[in-house]
């Protein structure tokens, strides 16, 4: 009975079968296939981490801005000859008539004491300190009030009434956030370009190491498109495997960081996984595979073009 031909797959190592076996005329494991997968995995890991960092910075920036731009504070200082309750009521009246104000809540002396406790300590004699009255105001961020007009109206309503829109804080935070975003985008751009360069180089090295196979296929009558397709398929699968491996490692790293951040207080929190976030991360291995495929095709076609 004739032995049924088997491909070499069954005898090859588990590592090769999992990550580099492509059933291609190009060699699977060995110095080129596995190296390429590892290089692509490493670069995708770095690119995914950077992309994740960019998303985290964006998330934090939006969160800070949202928190600050959605809140106002009305400060009512004690003025000689003025009844504090009348000052407060006058301010509340102005706030209640202003469109875009969602809530206005007068803070109690305990609330105010809690706010300044980090600076003055818990043992302060609350009754002895002339705490200002504070009104915590929440605004509709979708249709915010005219803050200049509101500040003027409040100051006019009673002496000692002043609006704090946190504008200075907001400007500082926006400035810092914009700088952080710009830096992270620059790092992402550098990592992306480096990834493209390294994947291109590794793909070319893989092809160079196996140029005899390309020559052989050419000499036995294979058409250029067949050779390019075989090699593209090989590098597509290697690229995808490397990319997915890198992405999986970066997701594990994100998971570890998220656990660490949940147990402590961090200024930058992990972004929640939105569909577009996931899509962005999934694009990393796809892009790596595409770079590998395009490089392989261009290199092979250029090499074949030099042959008869």
């Amino acid at each position: 009975m004739v032995e049924v031909p088997m491909t070499g797959t069954a005898r090859r190592s588990l590592l090769a079968r999992l990550f580099v076996e492509t059933r291609s005329v190009m060699p699977a494991a060995g110095s080129t296939g596995l190296s390429l997968v590892l290089v692509i995995a490493t670069m995708c890991f770095l690119a995914s981490l950077t992309l994740g960092a960019v998303l985290a910075v964006n998330h934090a920036t939006q969160s800070w801005t949202r928190q600050l731009s959605g809140a106002l504070t009305v400060e009512i200082r004690a003025v000689e000859g003025q009844d504090p309750e009348m000052q407060r009521d006058a301010a509340l009246t102005v706030l209640s008539k202003t469109p875009g104000i969602l809530t206005a809540k007068t803070l109690t002396r305990d609330d105010v004491a809690a706010l300044i406790q980090p600076w003055l300590g818990a043992d302060i004699a609350r009754e002895d300190l002339p705490f200002p009255q504070l009104i915590d105001v929440r605004v509709d961020t979708a249709a915010p009030p005219d803050l200049v007009a509101l500040a003027a109206a409040l100051e006019k309503s009673a002496p000692g009434v002043k609006l704090d829109s946190h504008r200075e804080w907001l400007d500082d935070i926006n400035g810092a956030a914009n700088a952080a975003q710009g830096l992270s985008y620059a790092i992402l751009a550098i990592i992306t370009l480096t990834t493209i360069a390294i994947v291109t180089f590794a793909t070319r090295a893989g092809l160079l190491a196996n140029h005899e196979i390309v020559e052989l296929l050419h000499l036995i009558g294979a058409r250029d498109n067949f050779i390019a397709s075989e090699i593209q398929r090989h590098f597509l699968l290697l690229g995808l495997r490397g990319g997915v491996l890198g992405l999986a490692l970066s997701l594990l790293a994100f998971g570890g960081m998220a656990l660490a951040m949940n147990s402590r207080s961090f200024l930058v929190s992990m972004p929640t996984i939105q569909p577009w976030t996931l899509t962005s991360l999934l694009l990393v291995p796809v892009m790596a595979a595409l770079v590998s495929v395009i490089t392989a095709r261009m290199t092979v076609m250029r090499g074949l073009g030099r042959m008869m």
Binding site: V2, E3, P5, T7, G30, I220
Partner: protein, 219 residues
């Protein structure tokens, strides 16, 4: 059928390695190609299996002038030529079966259409028991037979073998020669490049003798 007329070859700006080479190989012929080392045998073979263009002269393969063929037409001519390379050029990670099937795979044929033929051919060259063997596990003679099977898999009209007995003992050399004679009997033109005078003596056939880039026909 195959004609070289005043063919010359030089690599880049180097000296001419082939000069005014003129000969004709008729359909179904059997020839040896011989000559001392450095005489230009490998260069002549490269021209014959369309690995290189001549610097001058006219090459006609299967009644078609090579110079007039487009890049799209050249693979069709190459498929008519089977080559047994001196160093075999078996793909190391493919089994004997996969190596022999390569010419048909390269033509886009499905495995179902060629599976039985590949097995039959490997059995014919005495490799029926080693279908799944990787080249690294094969002896020199076994590699040679796999390389021959691959060269004839696409039913070529011309088979070129470069030093086919160079890596095997005398007995295996005889068996391989018998294979070539059998293929020739089935209608394939054969050109064997060899240094082996005994091989030529055992199978008297016309010989293209290369000397310093020029060819003479003996016999």
């Amino acid at each position: 059928m195959i004609r070289f007329e005043n063919v010359g070859l030089r690599y880049e700006s180097g000296p001419e390695v082939l000069r005014d080479v003129t000969f004709t190989l008729e359909r179904g012929s059997f020839h040896f190609l011989t000559g001392p080392s450095g005489a230009g045998k490998t260069s002549l073979l490269r021209l014959m299996f369309l690995d290189h263009k001549p610097s001058r002269g006219l090459i006609t393969m299967f009644d078609r002038p090579i110079a007039t063929l487009t890049r799209h037409e050249l693979p069709d001519i190459r498929r008519e030529i089977g080559v047994v390379f001196q160093d075999f050029r078996l793909i190391a990670h493919l089994t004997a079966y996969e190596n022999v099937a390569l010419p048909l795979r390269a033509r886009g044929k499905s495995e179902d259409s060629y599976r039985a033929d590949v097995i039959e051919l490997l059995q014919w060259v005495g490799m029926g028991e080693r279908l799944n063997a990787l080249p690294s596990t094969l002896s020199g003679g076994e590699k040679q037979r796999v390389a021959i099977a691959r060269a004839v898999m696409g039913r070529p009209r011309l088979l070129i073998a470069d030093e086919p007995t160079g890596n095997v003992d005398a007995e295996m050399g005889n068996r391989l020669l018998h294979l070539f004679v059998e293929l020739n009997r089935l209608g394939t033109s054969i050109l064997i490049a060899t240094h082996d005078r005994e091989l030529i003596a055992r199978n008297p056939a016309p010989a293209l003798v290369l000397h310093k880039g020029e060819v003479e026909i003996h016999g």
